[in-house]
Symmetry: C2
Subunit: 566 residues, 2 copies
């Protein structure tokens, strides 16, 4: 299953669409010179195309298994992980003082996109490590940082996040795991956690679990949750590994896809752990990590969409059938061309949104400017939900492009659809993302949204001189979104929640129009033609979505549970 990292798309997006120059112009990220970016993209592409992509099918066909308590990973995954670690990719955005490269998250996002497109199930491992590194950088004591960060960044150790319990999924506050103080400053952590991605493996020396649990004096709900580092092997203060901790993999899940990634049920029985951050402030620490992890998951969706698109394009431009003109392949048929163009246009839109999100995070980091923080916070749920929905949709269109071959596993098209399916669920379901957007992210009465809409409308106004046919519909769509947003922020939460998912989708569609317009204004060739497809054919989707939003909750909640069961 060949995969070719879309370097030219990344370069175009960074240079002409999401204004990466402003990141590179900051002191904080002055290392991110154009030459450095080219080097990063080139090297990550080489790793992804040559080392990781060949692991994609074996990971599906030979799932990770649990044998006598030991997780055996898929063939080649140990070598693949080693190559990722040796390239320095785990710590690309981590602090240089612990061995990281200290580069912008925007570049890390391009690298994660390529690695995810090449082999999603393996890439999930370094993504989890990156989340843990970030959490420790922000919240851990210096002592913990010194022990864990160098090993995580080098890839000698790997990291996991332990949030979910059987009775506590989206409602994290319902978790019951406990942590009792020991007399040496550590804690005895007990409880069962589920859905632990890469809960164990057979290639890292240690596996470091960040576990949410309750201290004895904790209040109920989210304000009584603390965060603990619970390693598989207990290190001394120099990082030398000692005794096995009292934790184990109970079982691995049998999943629809992502077979190469062992998803564990973990059990902690008075396992030794160390507090990360303040007591009862675990959720805040988790949120730091989760916001960026959400961008990471968005990138997974986009990476898989890219791979599924390439796979379908290869098939469609190779398969000769019917009375096709030109190349004689099915890609000459209008309906197949429509599928391919829609896939490519949607990948571009989703990728632009996620990179703009990453730029906002980098600018917030570099400048400390609250406006950038607000921009990043607004874009995060949109990136996550839209990027992963596009992952699912493009993978489905990829199957459809293959016809009957799409349903046959050996073709490989089905694996993309099965693998990417989890991305709309984990790290907060896409419904949760949409609720986050219309509630938490609009506690500012929509200020961040309106600021972004101002920019979109100003860009469209400016574009009208050159490309009125494209700029005008983008301006109109933004204005409709503005009016709906004005209505939305005046409603109570339930009215917002009722239309949260279509609202997020419409917002993403408008953003996609904005970035496609920027592309068309910079490139009078292929990118303008693709933008024309998107703006004229796909962007109008927002009209029906926003009509849905404006209906509010009443008629929806009027459909009772009895109605649904009747």
């Amino acid at each position: 299953m060949p995969y070719s990292s879309p370097i030219s798309d990344f370069r175009f997006l960074l240079d002409h669409v999401v204004d990466f120059d402003q990141v590179a112009a900051t002191d904080r990220f002055s290392d991110a010179t154009p030459d450095m970016c080219v080097a990063i993209l080139t090297e990550a592409a080489k790793l992804s195309d040559e080392v990781l992509a060949p692991l994609q099918r074996p990971g599906d066909e030979h799932p990770a298994v649990l044998e006598n308590g030991i997780v055996r990973t898929s063939p080649g995954f140990a070598e693949g992980f080693k190559a990722i670690a040796e390239g320095g990719w785990i710590g690309i955005s981590a602090s240089p003082e612990n061995g990281g490269m200290g580069l912008p998250l925007t570049l890390a996002t391009t690298v994660n996109d390529m690695m995810a497109g090449a082999c999603l199930s393996l890439q999930l491992n370094p993504l989890m490590c990156q989340g843990q590194i970030e959490a420790l950088e922000h919240h851990a004591s210096d002592a913990l940082k010194e022990i864990y960060l160098p090993k995580l960044i080098s890839g000698e150790w790997t990291g996991t996040m332990n949030l979910t319990e059987p009775q506590a999924g989206s409602d994290v506050g319902a978790l019951r795991s406990k942590a009792e103080p020991n007399n040496d400053g550590s804690y005895a952590v007990s409880g069962q956690k589920i859905y632990i991605s890469w809960g164990d493996n057979d290639f890292a020396e240690n596996v470091c679990h960040l576990v949410l649990a309750r201290l004895p004096d904790a209040v109920d709900g989210v304000k009584g949750i603390s965060l603990f580092m619970v390693p598989k092997f207990i290190p001394d203060e120099d990082g030398n590994l000692g005794e096995r901790n009292s934790l184990r993999v109970v079982s691995l899940e049998h999943k629809m896809g992502l077979h190469g990634s062992p998803t564990a049920v973990m059990e902690y029985s008075n396992a030794k752990g160390w507090l990360v951050g303040e007591p009862h402030a675990g959720l805040a620490a988790m949120f730091t990590m989760m916001n960026n992890a959400r961008l990471g998951v968005a990138t997974q969706g986009i990476g898989v969409a890219e791979a599924a698109y390439q796979h379908a394009l290869t098939y469609a431009t190779d398969r000769k059938q019917g009375k096709a003109k030109g190349t004689g392949t099915i890609a000459e048929h209008a309906d197949v061309r429509r599928m391919l163009a829609s896939m490519k246009a949607d990948v571009f839109a989703a990728r632009a949104i996620s990179l703009a999100n990453a730029v906002a995070i980098d600018m917030a980091t570099a400048t400390g400017d609250d406006a950038w923080d607000a921009r990043a916070a607004l874009l995060t749920p949109i990136s996550k939900a839209f990027g992963t929905d596009i992952g699912v949709e493009v993978a489905a269109t990829g199957i459809q492009t293959h016809g009957g071959m799409g349903f046959i596993e050996e073709t490989g098209a089905a694996q993309y659809a099965r693998d990417v399916r989890v991305t709309t669920i984990y790290e907060g379901t896409n419904g949760i993302q949409a609720m986050d957007l219309v509630a938490r992210k609009m506690m500012d009465n929509g200020d961040a949204a309106f600021a972004l809409l101002d920019e979109i409308e100003a860009a469209a106004e400016a574009g009208k001189a050159t490309l009125p046919d494209l700029a005008e519909p983008v301006w109109l769509a933004a204005e409709t979104l503005r009016e709906t947003t004005e209505w939305l922020v005046s409603q109570d939460l339930n009215d917002r929640f009722a239309g949260a998912v279509p609202y997020l989708r419409a917002f993403a569609r408008v953003l996609g129009g904005h970035y496609h317009l920027a592309a068309a204004l910079s490139d009078d060739g292929a990118r303008k033609r693709l933008a024309t497809f998107y703006i004229k054919r796909t962007l109008p989707e927002h009209i029906g979505l926003l009509a849905h939003v404006r209906e509010g909750a009443d008629d929806l909640m009027a459909v009772t549970i009895d109605d649904l069961a009747s």
Copy 2:
């Protein structure tokens, strides 16, 4: 995985939405009294809920396998098939002179819907048999009919359709299988066929293959194709089985879903076959069968959507999480309620369309009226593509409703999504359906479409007095569809094809609005509330779709293959 056949939905649709009374009022179908309908629905529900539904998961977990040339079917499938056969369900619409019940296809459609919802992979077998029975009834010689029809209808023998070859998928005219006359009136059939659903099994005495092949004097393309009956065991004229024919299962496909249904690569090596219908007229015979088989596949999509909906509803009304009011379950959350309502509303819309399609077929059969034929022909591609797209979408929403559990195979939600995926592909991909709609089905300059739109608008006009809030948007949507249809029929084929898929979808959305309005006008309670959800929130989707349609082909085909690969 409990499944409960939605009998009350069928009764409501037949009585109040698709005017089944007119079918029962014909001489041809005078047996289809209300009592008979109730008996059929009740018995088929019992079979589906109690006998077939328990086979759904075992079929997935223990796929059919090929062992030393013999297909071993999934556990319980032999008994399940026997129960279907003994209930008379294979021949529900077949002619009574050969043992069929002679009942309307509309009733057969409700039965197929229930059986598909209960166990899709097994139900595909009788569906293939029904297609073969119909082809033989219309095209076979009396001698062939006498031998094959009673055995197929009784379920002693099963039937398959052999169209596809590796180089000839959607382009059937490219097929190469050959048939040479023997000196006894039979033919020697040779060739390889792929994607043969239920190509063999270990529970029927004989497997009867309808095979498309070329006679020696055949012209190229679709006008040189003939249809042959090629049985696994060669019967004498009394139906006693004789020698094994020269055909074999080469392999079974490893598929994304539908594991219980053995999908075979078949090889025919001078296998003995008999011509069905006229020489070189095989495609016409195949089309007779395929049109109704397309409705059968639509019904598969809808049946699985129903089952996936029930499964998600059970989970959502059982799962307690977060600060939900009322029942305390996640079904109280607005976004979950939105998912559930959209699933139920879409199943209703798709089912109404397919039953209206079946009514049109029955009325054409009973009256010979061309207008009914045209109505049936128009609705068939819409039923097939929309019914199966809704199958895929509802199954996906079902996974999403389950959160993390949706990705775990043991939950069962994923199987619906994997199984139903093939329905958008086989029996003509949904892209092919859409092209059929805008081309072949509009060779009448749109007359059949406009006649249907007249009815929709008249019903909406009449509804304005009672339910103006619902009738007005349906009328407006129909009028927008009419204007787009007027534009469409004035365009050349490529312009039509470019927007064929969004056009079909918009047509289905408007039809869904029409049938939901009819439901609301008959039932002031739950059905009106569901119709309100659909008409106000889902129907507006047509606006963006029709905008896409009206863009034609130019800007689409301007996106070149080089652009796509750049």
